[in-house]
Amino acid sequence: MDSNKKYWKGLEELNKTPEFVEKNKHEFAEPIPIEDVLAGGGLGGKTPRRDFLKALGFGVGAVTLAACQKVPVHKSIPYLIKPEDVTPGVANYYSSTYDGHAILVKTREGRPIKIEGNPNDILSKGGLSGQAQASVLDLYDVNRLKNPMKDKSDYGWGQADDFVKSELAAIKAGGKKIAIISSTISSPSTLAVIADFIAQFPNAKHISYDAVSYTGIIQSNQNSFNKAVLPHYSFDKADVIVSFGADFLGTWISPAEFIRQYVQNRNNKSLQSKKMSRHIQFETGMSITGTNADVRIPIKPSEEGMALINLYSAISGTALPGARPLKNNIADKAITLVAKELLAAKGKALVVAGSNDVATQVLVNAINSLLGSYGNTIDLDNPSHQYAGNDKEFADFVSEMKGGEVDALFFLNANPVYDYYNSKDIIEGLKKVRLKVSFADHSDETASVCNIIAPNNYYLESWGDDNAIEGYYTILQPTINPVYDTRQAEHSLLIWSDNAVKDYYTYVRNNWDKNLLAKGGLSGRGGWETLLQTGFVKAAENPKGAYTFGRDLNGVVQTVLDHSAQLADGDKVQLQLYQTVAMRDGKRANNPWLQELPDPVSKVTWDNFAAVSPSDMKKWGYEDGDVIKIEGNGYAISLPALSQPGQTQGTISVAVGYGRTLAGPVGNNVGKNAFPFHSIRNGTFQTSATVTLTKTGDNSPLSQTQTHHSIEGRNSIIKEATFTEYLKNPAVRTGNGKDHKDYNENNLFWQDYDHPQYNWVMAIDLNACTGCGACVVACSAENNVPVVGKAEVGRRREMHWIRIDRYYSFNDNGQGGVTKETEIAKLEDLDHVRVVYQPMLCQHCDHAPCETVCPVLATVHSSEGLNQMAYNRCVGTRYCANNCPYKVRRFNWFNYWNDSRFENYLQNDHTLLVLNPDVVTRFRGVMEKCSMCVQRIQAGKLKAKIEKRPVKDGDIKVACQQTCPANAIVFGNANDPNSEVSKALTSERTYYVLEELGVQPGIGYQVKIRNISETEA
């Protein structure tokens, strides 16, 4: 039976007094005065202590509850059905193409994370430029267009197709012009697509436009030999190389390839066969090529013409009309000497000029034909297709457009609004164009004024092919599905031109089956598959004809002299425009790796600047970083000045490729745009101008990764000798063999540890290294090195694991190098500067000073001779970095991967996919440094183990070595006497940096040799 007893506590409840009822409503007997307590007045209340305790209690309770929040769950989902070719943790490599180079794309779990050169690449044999290395990052650029756009608003592909097709139909009927503006296209299939398109629309026209153009050379060959081609140069066949402002090791035509060729006559192998090429550079600004030259003569742009004329006269022996000795008598002397050397090396000589002026190039052709270069060092029959831009054609087109004769426009990988010297005209003209389509994958300067943007796939998402030089065909295959809703430009063109084949992949296949496979002796499906594996086919070379220059030069000379006269105008300063190795023409401005890659010569990051010669700095009263206004060709920009030894007096050099406004958050407004200083003359863009400079008064410091530029006479860090000395005694400077003091002999205090199986070491040939910096980018990509941005670099906190030290030494009246700060200050002439590059990375010392001082054993030595770094043991005392004589240790000052202040657009989930999963990202407060790509070493050992064999020499290539176009870096096992590295280290030129400290570094450097006789300037 249920009880109806009534239980009550206290009489109030029993006889429900109103106040009891009232109280009962609340949770607490008395309300908690949180508000008044928090309002501050609380403790002033009548019973502050109680209220305080209540508030306290509530606070603690509340916080505890809040702290009980569950940690967000990160799901990792396994493959439901595992793709047969993907093994988690194992990388796949796919052959593909970058800029005509055959490459291998490393993918992990289906995402491309690294670009590596294809070791069989005809051009650079596996070497790649920094740009190529950095290109993988752009795939993950979150600022790429995610879908088609019409008039700045999202649009569907279907709609876009309908719209474009209807427009085209109408325009075709209308009969006005249709133009496809593209930067040089060397892909046969793409060209075929365009051809088909033009066949469909007869009033269409394809115009190649290069921001940095080589029309001058192409035209000159047309004029000289009726072959409008860009020749294929062979620097490896040249014993004497004379370059007039051609930066062929940095930016000219095909640098990665040229570096390989050039170094073949200067590296260890060639030296041991007592052979070294000779390289004389006449140039205005200090280019990476000039820094590598044996002799470098600074000349003004206005003197270049006369110099060539004199050279021609000296070689031919008959003075050309108007040939006068140069005012600059050092250059004048040099010309005559150079002429002698060139003649002596007839058939093994090569003269190149960077100028884009037809007349100048004709003159160069004449000289080369006198020297019998054609068929030897210059090949017109197997030309290069890397640049085909036609300045005149484009300029004419712009005027046509302004005249309203154009109705449809397609921009393919071209951005004239940014990089054409007269973007005003273009914008004006575009207004008159009915259909403007851009295939850009960013809404860049040009795309943003088009009415349709049909975003192109990134090259890593695309099918295609390339044909950098005659007979060398490479295949481009996708390594990932299009990340966004983009479509390959060729595909769009096929659709819009109602091609029989709509799908570009099929189109490429057909094209290869029909025309290209056969060239490589391949055919059918099997052939295609072989191609996809090897990555390229090489057709037999066309027979080389000998070309002799037969035209009369008087007219040419006159044009050249006129031009020089124009430039030499009065007391005006001459401006030379150049490309930096990192930025080139600025198409990749949104790539933080490239922005942070120091310029090889100036070591400046994240900016362009006005390079001024030290004497002019004094004369004009500039300090480094002073912002100066540069006016010329009706255009003006303000840039910080930088004292650049070797810059010709009376000239300044400014890099193009900066000052993008719509590149993306990284590249926007970095530096100033110098393209508008271009001018068009005799149908080609001219890269020099006359300008006036004015000091603006403000100063914006440049972020350099190196601020002290001389070696201070410390010849145990840098050792250099002349070729003549080397021939006399190969062990010059090192004294290897006989008079070399062994700092490691009889260690009095303790037995050395032995490295039983492997002893990983490295050899770096200072004579091969050109300082291009590809290794720096490769290392960043391989090891997830963070980007820290301009401000932090300015505070000397860049994180690069490998850096390239650049030292200037000045010639004191022709005799050796002056390197001491104090003495340099006394020098008059700072124009004749010698440069040496030294790649500097962790030396993995066997007696590492960093290891001894770490209190927590975060860095210790491995049994394979590696200096290891245990990040999660490091507490960050930075003692190791202080005690490192090479200063190669890098500290994580901030949590770069997770601190919005240093985000540099790498911190979003999408871009982070580029990270190498084999290497952890480092946390704030820990030290990091080169690990000699220990992950690659482990992978290599694992592979060997699975294949039940010992690790072979060359199995393991570290990232910097792999990408080095000069093969300056050799890595391997010192325990194996036959390994490449062991051989390299036994060379007489080998020395160890700061050897006398007795830290026993694991990286041997090889003496820098200059092919000069002491008497020369």
């Binding site: 000397r796 001082v853 090479y886």
Partner: protein
């Protein structure tokens, strides 16, 4: 026997008339037993503001990372380790005074050792804060201790001078603390027995139930003697080991074999200067002129002069060796101290430490309170710059010129340093309020032998060598706490 009278030619250690044991107690306990005066409050407010600044800037560093400091890839240590070594150096006077001077039976230490030891402890605390806050990951500050851990089990690197540091600093701190507190017990008992209510309870807890019975005193003295015996090598070892942070490395300018004695001398130098700075103020504010007399001031000035000169010799030796070694990096480093971008720091260092202290050869300077005070501060400025020069100027241009860089401090660097000074003074000001700033028992010990009145009695008693008497009177002239008038008639 306690009553033996000291020779007349020694200057008195306690001045003033009719000083009794009771008066000593009253005088010394005045600040402890009464409410603080205005001077104290002003000082305390400023100091605690500094302490707050310290808390703020250190928290800022912990939150955002060491990057908030001005350090870079080349200069990995700057103001942090400079401050650390500076404070450790200052922390050397106390134990030195109480230990070495005790062994040498220098009775004048009795009236200064207490506050000197307190100062030591606070200075070492400030130094220790730097040890932690300069780490990249301070929350792992316990990793340099030999503890088992999840790295199964990776121990610590006993080859690393930083580990030696951890041991040295912690030992030095704890031993000094023990020494200091043991010495405090009798005085705490005195306070206890004079106090009432809650204060009595507290002091009775703190005084461990001290009674002052014969056996206690006897053991007490043994303990103090042995502590002194072991603290003497300890105090020398600590800065020796700190100097090894540098001496055992290979950075030119650091790798210097004379660093241990050189650093120890420098430490005593700056330590005594700091004691001087504090006591010259304290004796005025707390009215302890009778117990911290001109004799003490001059004695300390003499030590400052001596150690300063030792440091000077060390500097010269460094330069000579740099020149004589022929090592190009070493030579450049030392040239760089004068012609490099940090020449001004070099000048501060050599100027303040060597040139200024040479003034102390003059008795007029040694016995002039104002000048001594200024000089004592100059010395510590100089010593700060010494560490800055050794650390930054050596690092910023070491072996490979490509990595040469400048160091520019940020506001955080500065705040942490200024703040640590605030922290130090906060602790010291609190100390003089709760503990007797002079060891009463030890002063009482010398009352009968070396006080002015005792010696006066001797004079009045007469029968002393005239010359000695004159000499004694001469000596008394500079004393600010002695009325020469009393000596006319004698």
């Amino acid at each position: 026997m306690a009553s033996h009278s000291e020779s007349i030619i020694r200057e008195p250690l306690i001045t003033g008339k009719d000083i009794t044991y009771a008066k000593i107690t009253n005088d010394i306990l005045r600040p402890v037993e009464n409410m603080p005066g205005r001077a104290w409050w002003i000082g305390f407010t400023i100091a605690s503001l500094g302490a707050c600044l310290w808390v703020f800037s250190v928290s800022w560093t912990f939150w955002y990372g060491i990057g908030e400091w001005g350090l870079n890839k080349t200069v990995g240590w700057a103001w942090d380790i400079t401050g650390f070594v500076w404070w450790v150096g200052i922390g050397h006077a106390g134990t030195l005074i109480s230990a070495i001077l005790l062994l040498f039976r220098q009775n004048w230490r009795n009236s200064i050792n207490r506050s000197a030891e307190a100062m030591t402890i606070f200075a070492v605390i400030c130094a220790a804060t730097y040890v932690v806050s300069h780490m990249g990951r301070p929350w792992l500050a316990y990793w340099p201790l030999p503890l088992p851990n999840q790295f199964g089990s990776i121990w610590i690197n006993f080859n690393s001078p930083l580990v030696w540091d951890v041991f040295a600093i912690s030992t030095y701190f704890s031993v000094s603390l023990v020494f200091w507190y043991t010495g405090l017990l009798p005085d705490l008992a005195t306070i206890r027995d004079r106090a009432t209510g809650i204060r009595r309870k507290i002091y009775s807890v703190c005084s461990f139930g001290w009674t002052g019975s014969v056996k206690t005193w006897q053991r007490f003295e043994t303990v103090c003697l042995i502590l002194a015996g072991i603290s003497t090598p300890l105090v020398l070892s600590v800065h020796t080991i700190v100097s090894m942070d540098f001496a055992t490395s290979l950075v030119p300018g650091w790798h210097t074999t004379i660093f241990p004695p050189y650093f120890v001398a420098g430490a005593i130098f700056s330590g005594f200067a700091m004691v001087q700075t504090l006591l010259l103020v304290a004796r005025k504010v707390l009215g302890l002129e009778n117990y911290i007399t001109m004799f003490h001031i001059e004695a300390m000035n003499k030590i400052i002069l001596l150690t300063g000169s030792i440091v000077g010799v060390a500097y010269l030796t460094e330069f000579f060796i740099a020149y004589y070694s022929g090592g190009e990096y070493e030579q450049y480093t030392f040239l760089n101290r004068f012609i490099g971008p940090y020449w001004w720091a070099g000048c501060m260092m050599y100027g303040c430490n060597v040139l200024m202290t040479q003034l102390m050869w003059f008795k007029k300077v040694r016995t002039n309170i104002q000048i001594s005070w200024v000089l004592s501060i100059v010395v510590n400025i100089g010593m700060w710059f010494e560490r800055f020069v050794i650390i930054v100027t050596s690092l910023h241009r070491d072996f490979v010129p490509s990595s040469w860089a400048m160091f520019y401090p940020t506001w955080v660097d500065m705040s942490v340093f200024v703040g640590s000074i605030g922290l130090f003074f906060t602790m010291f000001l609190l100390f003089i309020r709760v503990f007797p700033s002079i060891a009463m028992a030890e002063v009482k010990l010398i009352l009968k032998s070396s006080s002015e009145q005792a010696k006066k009695k001797l004079l009045e008693h007469g029968g002393l060598d005239k010359e000695q008497v004159e000499f004694y009177k001469e000596a008394l002239v500079p004393f600010d706490s002695v009325e020469m008038a009393d000596y006319e008639k004698i």
